[in-house]
């Protein structure tokens, strides 16, 4: 089982955990409890390697899947078969979700718009691709997003689409906001309160947008909805804030720079998900519908 995991871990992205868990289904235990145990173990291994929120929420959602399925079918082999089918379906739906989000969001980008975005997000990129495909003219400002300068990758990708793009310093967000018409960011996780967890610097951007009265839009797929309710920055668990190897090697975390921050729902205007355009208060409704 471990041998099979290693190649998957190397090419990890948010869809990775579901694919991995799907591939594990044929091999494990004779009982549903055994299956659940091995899936939990697999998720834990994954979070040890890549401690992002999306991996955790994707894994939990898939596990939830299992508990819902096991209630319906008594016979284990039939159960496994149904789980496999549903797993495939789940993957299919997830891969369509980015397209759905792009379809909903691109209408909010008008001709001549100036957009500000943070760091690199594949969903935001897809939205901007769709808007560009609809022949809209817009310019984009991307923050450089230290410490990994992910913003530069986003800028390269946008240049390939022939969209005029400018990379700005993280500190220049307040400076550039007066020129900007709207702010669109992705999310690594959407929490129960309707707030988001995203690359460090997002909270700053949200506070500045509120001060300038600019709409702050978040685009995220629904599998990123996670059962957390942080009340402030401290409440976000350490396993999401820091990289997995940092957590393992460093003893005193107060010297480390967190990789993510929490943006409260009061600063977010709208969330675009594959479940539709949601106000932050609608997010907890969605989560309740799932977990009750």
């Amino acid at each position: 089982m471990e041998a099979r995991m290693i190649p998957v871990i190397r090419s990890l992205d948010t869809i990775g955990p579901s694919m991995l868990l799907c591939s594990l289904l044929p091999c494990s235990g004779e009982t549903i409890l055994g299956l659940r145990e091995s899936l939990k173990w697999a998720t834990d291994c994954l979070t040890e390697v890549d401690s992002s929120v999306a991996v955790s929420s994707g894994g939990e959602l898939f596990l939830r899947f299992i508990s819902l399925t096991s209630l319906e079918h008594q016979d284990l082999s039939r159960c496994k078969k149904v789980m496999e089918e549903r797993g495939e379906l789940f993957l299919e739906k997830i891969s369509l979700s980015r397209t759905k989000v792009a379809k909903l969001c691109h209408t909010f980008i008008k001709d001549g718009a100036k957009i500000l975005t943070h760091s690199s997000s594949r969903v935001v990129l897809r939205v901007l691709e769709k808007a560009a495909a609809e022949k809209k003219r817009f310019t984009v400002y991307v923050t450089e997003s230290q410490p990994d300068t992910a913003g530069k990758q986003m800028a390269d990708a946008l240049r390939r689409l022939n969209v005029p793009v400018t990379v700005v310093l993280d500190a220049a967000v307040g400076y550039v906001l007066e020129k900007v018409d709207l702010v669109i960011v992705g999310a690594e996780g959407v929490v129960e309160s309707g707030g988001i967890i995203n690359k460090i610097g997002t909270y700053q951007m949200a506070v500045c947008s509120k001060a300038h009265n600019k709409p702050f839009y978040v685009v995220a797929e629904s599998f990123k909805f996670v059962r957390l309710y942080p009340l402030n920055q401290q409440d976000v668990p350490d396993r999401f804030k820091y990289k997995a190897d940092t957590l393992r090697t460093v003893s005193d975390l107060s010297d480390e720079h967190p990789m993510i921050d929490y943006t409260p729902p009061s600063l977010i205007t709208l969330l675009f998900t594959d479940l539709g355009v949601l106000t932050p208060s609608a997010v907890s409704d969605e989560l309740i519908k799932l977990y009750l």
Binding site: F65, L68, K110, G112, L275, G276, A282, D285, K289
Partner: protein
Amino acid sequence: MPGADKETDLTERIEAFLADLKRGGSGTGPLRGSGEMARETTYLLRRITAQARWSSAGDLMEIIRNEGRRMTAAQPSETTVGNMVRRVLKIIREEYARSRGSSEETEQQESLHKLLTAGELSEENFRQHFVHLKANVIEAINELLTELDGTTDNIAMQALEHIHSNEVIMTVGRSRTVEAFLKDAARKRKFHVIVAECAPFCQGHEMATGLSKVGIETTVIADAAIFAVMSRVNKVIIGTQTVLANGGLRAVNGTHSVALAARHHSTPLIICAPMFKLSPQVFTTIFYPFPGSFSYCLPVLREILSKVNVHCPVFDYVPPELITLFISNIGGNAPSYIYRLMSELYHPEDHKL
């Protein structure tokens, strides 16, 4: 032949309705209230269901959707027409589901739960034919019409809970719903109303006359005086043209200023709006004026008319943060709850006709 006659009669009525809509927009026809508009639309849709030729629910939905598109294109600012079309489409979906025997839950919104538990990515194509579908749909539309008839009364019934003795209420322009609301409260309580006249049409004057006829102490003020007077006001109660999906409003010009003044003085802002005004549109940034904002020529001296551009938008956007409460025919709700009410009224696939 009777069949052909019915068809031509139906198309004639639809054309007459569309012409009426177009005229109402350009200012030459009579200004209709939204309640009346909603009722007329529903009558027309019921007639289409009864008289048009269709064999399955899918056909009927296509017909209604096409007519709905034409109607909304004729007068984009009149959103109640589109809302009624969407209500009827939802009714058809529900009746179809009921006839098939499947529970209504399965046809509902996308949700995380559905993501995990649903079967194949099935496309519901509404092709099955049911004998009683027509009768059921027409009955449901009749229920909708009864609901529409009772909306103003249902809202007015809640007045006594919100208006107390010796209060000063402010309102803007003329809203039939707010008028009924205040008149109902006046039967048992004594309070004072300040009406902002709402230039350039000054509909506030009619409102003030109507209110004073039932013995309410009314004062008319100019729009510029709203902020100055706001410190003496206990509540602001206004109507609106449309309630947007995010809980914001599209209301008569000047409402945003009233909302800001109320926020500054921490005065509650209460909106009386029936459910048929709830629209799945979202306000998409401030680049373009609202569709349907037309310029009316202000009384300007003839000499400068050729040298001046006059813009007079009819509607205003009020963001949901400035609103305290929505009073509708189903009760009072916070603006953050509007998305939920909307998911109960319309199906997500019908948001875009």
